[in-house]
């Protein structure tokens, strides 16, 4: 399988600030790759390094085997969907979409036809004559997508494109983006701080923290076998357990990660398991989150709807399957 984008020891420092620090990365051709991390973790800078808006201070970037350093954005076969969409306010929708073809000197009739075709693909046929100001947020997002796709890029970069949309629209766009990516076979690199979005859409996820990648893997790997305490906590708010706790209940030594939904709560305080006290509960709709205190260790459990809910302050026992407790290697 060809490598679409490859970083080797890439750094981007701004003075003392290490926005991206010695990152190694391989994005495979045709995959949906998510860069996940909190704000300031270096994911957007990495995206901008691929787009060419930033140049690395050290390291080497290749896009489809070609060196990318020093190549300006307009000579890269890579297009971007911007977080604020960046639609040209003085152009109508069809001219926005056809912009990439216009600057390449494609004839007017031909680029209009191509633009209409892409607009139909993003489900906005017949919107060509409107101005960006006349569109809703979701429609602008589709125009931005169409504009980036019209050049048939080899890699499409998406910078938190769904951040400004409401929940319902976001879920719908997630489905559509995924379908579009399968249909076109273009490599998508998707930046997000929303772990749910990354897990549900991506083929592989890179988790960023403080300018470095802490783990790369499939959503299942990231979720079930987090490589570090940071990943365990950031992706799905896992319970991070100290080595002593893990040794007592599991026999192995090392930091552990236990998913809240793997925990069962038993009212019989004398039974086998981890004794704990209920601190609070919050109703989530499909489930209820219970916050517990196990001898000074704070533990979150998620109970499905219909399960018996313990009272606040009640002494309970927590049980879980051994396999669901993931012991993280190294320092963690």
């Amino acid at each position: 399988m060809t490598t679409a984008v490859s970083f080797s020891q890439v750094s981007r420092h701004y003075g003392a600030v290490k926005a991206v620090d010695r990152v190694d990365l391989d994005v495979r051709e045709g995959e949906f790759f998510a860069m996940l991390g909190p704000s300031g973790s270096g994911k957007t800078t990495s995206l901008r390094l691929i787009a060419g808006f930033e140049q690395p201070t050290a390291g080497h970037i290749e896009i489809f085997g070609e060196t990318a350093e020093g190549v300006p954005p307009y000579r890269r076969n890579v297009n971007t969907v911007f977080q604020d969409y960046a639609l040209f306010p003085h152009l109508n929708v069809v001219d926005n979409v056809a912009y990439g073809l216009m600057v390449r000197g494609v004839a007017k009739a031909e680029r209009r036809r191509a633009a209409e075709e892409v607009l139909a693909m993003v489900k906005l046929p017949g919107y060509g004559d409107r101005r960006p100001g006349q569109l809703s947020g979701g429609q602008r997002q589709r125009v931005a997508l169409a504009r980036a796709l019209v050049n048939r890029p080899k890699v499409l970069l998406l910078d938190e494109p769904l951040g400004a949309l409401d929940l319902k629209l976001r879920e719908q766009m997630q489905e559509e983006l995924k379908a579009l990516q399968r249909q076109l076979g273009i490599t998508f690199v998707f930046v997000t701080h929303d772990q749910g979005e990354a897990l549900s859409m991506a083929d592989r996820v890179a988790v960023f923290s403080e300018g470095r990648i802490t783990q790369v893997g499939t959503p299942q790997e990231i979720y079930q076998r987090p490589a570090s305490r940071f990943v365990a906590d950031f992706v799905g708010s896992s319970n991070v357990l100290p080595p002593d706790f893990v040794q007592r209940y599991c026999g192995q030594r090392g930091w552990g990660s236990l998913r809240p939904e793997s925990i069962r709560i038993q009212a019989d305080a004398s039974g086998d398991g981890v004794p704990a006290r209920v601190l609070s509960k919050s109703y989530l709709g499909a489930a209820t989150r219970v916050v517990l205190d196990a001898d000074g260790l704070r533990i979150n459990a998620i109970l499905p709807a219909g399960a018996r809910l313990p009272d606040d302050g009640e002494a309970v026992v927590l049980t879980f399957n051994r396999e669901t407790l993931h012991v993280m290697g190294g320092e963690g």
Binding site: G52, P72, Q83
Partner: protein
């Protein structure tokens, strides 16, 4: 009909408004009236008679044409210089962060805040120190100091409202620097530059103070008018020139007003 009694302004207010407008515009009307007077030594009221002969006289006076040509030339060149420098400066100040940015912003605006006489004296001493002979170009230089401010202010406001990612989007889609300027930056700041340029032109066209310090033997139109008023000969010629200038400059000012108003709508539409 909507014009019922409740919506009509009260009489005292109407009178006050009319008086205010008269106070503002009557002197200008007087200038127009004296352009047609038959008496050419002093401004006697009421004018003894009316004639249109001064238009022909004005047309045939070479000094009028010389002053007008010089003024148009100076205003055009100063505006052109201001457009280039003002836009570049505005782009730098609004697009990037660098050491001393706020200071530069202040220094650019300063010439318009300073009294013209200070700018004038400063330029005059600078020119004599550098032994630059006075010419059209020294006037242009003097005028450019405040023309840049006007263009800069207009451009910087528009740049700040234009999203920086528009430029990146353009580059990302395959446009090089020149194409990005041509197809994205210029359409977005164009109306601001036009308005700024017109204002700069108008400022330069009627400037007296800085010009008196930076001109040699040449006279721009305002200087020519000033000299002409002192001389009791063919006085209505000055009025004819003034009247034509008022009428000719009124149109671009109106246009600038409408252009920037539309510009606000265009710039706001994308957000």
């Amino acid at each position: 009909m909507r014009a019922d009694r409740n919506e009509r302004a009260p009489l005292p207010l109407t009178i006050a408004a009319a008086a205010g407008l008269l106070f503002l515009h009557l002197p200008i009307l007087l200038i127009f009236v004296y352009a047609f007077t038959t008496e050419d030594k002093s401004y006697a009221w009421p004018p003894p008679g009316f004639t249109t002969k001064w238009f022909a006289v004005t047309w045939n006076r070479p000094d009028v044409w010389e002053a007008l040509t010089l003024s148009v030339k100076v205003a055009s060149i100063s505006t052109a210089v201001a457009l280039v420098l003002g836009t570049l400066c505005a782009a730098a100040v609004s697009r990037t962060k660098f050491f001393g940015r706020e200071t530069i912003s202040l220094l650019v605006i300063l010439p318009i805040a300073l009294p013209g006489i200070i700018t004038g004296i400063a330029l005059r001493s600078a020119f004599s120190l550098a032994e630059i002979p006075f010419s059209t170009w020294t006037i242009v230089l003097g005028h450019a100091t405040f023309c840049v401010v006007v263009v800069y202010n207009n451009a910087v406001a528009r740049f700040r409202r234009t999203s920086a990612s528009l430029i990146e989007a353009s580059m990302d889609l395959g446009a090089d620097g020149f194409q990005t300027f041509r197809y994205v930056i210029l359409p977005n700041i164009g109306t601001a530059l036009l308005a700024g340029g017109m204002l700069a032109f108008a400022l330069s066209f009627d400037e007296v103070i800085v010009t008196t310090f930076t001109a040699g033997q040449q006279a721009t139109l305002p200087i020519w008018m000033l000299e002409e008023l002192v001389r009791p000969r063919q006085r209505p010629v000055t009025n004819v020139v003034a009247m034509v200038v008022v009428i000719v400059t009124f149109l671009p000012i109106l246009a600038a007003f409408y252009l920037t108003r539309d510009g606000d709508q265009i710039a706001g539409a994308g957000k």
